[in-house]
Amino acid sequence: MAARASDAASGNPSSRLPTSGPRAWRQLVAWALRRRQRVRVSGHSMAPTLDDGDHVLVDLRPDRPPAVGALLWVRDPREPDRRLVKRLITVTADGRLDLRGDAPDDSTDSRHFGPVAPELVLGRVVYRFPR
């Protein structure tokens, strides 16, 4: 059974972003080695996990397919120049990704534009900088 977004937000360890400790250090070192991209979040649809003005690091070549609960940096299916950050809540039977904001009232996501093709995924958010 696929985990729901609420499980992910409330503590599925694979989906929680490290902000300190060895897991955070690993991401900062990878960034120093230019293996992570620093990205700025704009908008409130991922609150409280990510909020407007937060900076995150994105792993552009995650070694495994995105897991349910992961935060993904994806091309907007309606506007390829625009990039979104949303949480993966389920993978549909035909392999497409159902994405949602953590703040559903404040989010435009798969409820509006449908599940997205996995090719649109640019990377996985692996770290949030301290605020």
């Binding site: 620093r38 990205v39 979040v41 704009s42 990510l50 979104l84 949303k86 900088f129």
Partner: protein
């Protein structure tokens, strides 16, 4: 220490690469309370109309008094029933999303019946329809706040 350096770096040199976490629509403030207030006015006017007694005889002042009150009650009932309908339509079309429909499969029917009751309240002087309209809005109130994960009691002004 490192946290402060990193935070300072990010605010000094914000990344040009962005991840949009927006809501595309104007982020509306929704509350079924506005429909409820309008429906309460409809119920109140319907009760007042039902309780009016026409004057006996041909006294102009008495008839003016009666007709003036009658017209005002009808006008307010018409206007507030329309407002209730508009407020319900905004909730239905703008607030509720397909995910809510999965959770509440009879959502469309509830709204359809509620907005039809607004029309019935305009077409007739019916305390019964106005009372049913209040009950329908109470149901919508329950669903609305449940989708927001909040327990908001149903309170009426009158």
């Amino acid at each position: 220490m490192l946290d402060r350096i990193l935070a300072a770096y990010n605010s000094a040199r914000p990344s040009a690469d962005t991840a949009s976490a927006h809501c595309d629509g104007p982020c509306g403030v929704y509350d079924p309370a506005s429909a409820r207030v309008a429906a309460e006015a409809v119920l109140s006017m319907s009760k007042k109309l039902a309780g009016l007694t026409p004057p006996t005889g041909n006294d102009v002042a008495a008839w003016n008094h009666y007709l003036n009150h009658h017209s005002r009650y009808v006008a307010i009932k018409e206007q507030q029933a329309h407002l209730a309908k508009e407020e319900l339509l905004v909730l239905w079309t703008d607030y509720f999303k397909p995910a809510h429909l999965e959770q509440y499969p009879d959502l469309h029917d509830i709204f359809w019946q509620a907005t039809k009751l607004c029309s019935a309240c305009k077409q007739h002087v019916s305390v019964e329809s106005a009372t049913e309209l209040m009950a329908a809005i109470e149901k919508i109130h329950g669903i609305f706040w449940a989708t927001k994960g909040r327990d908001v009691p149903w309170i009426t002004a009158s």
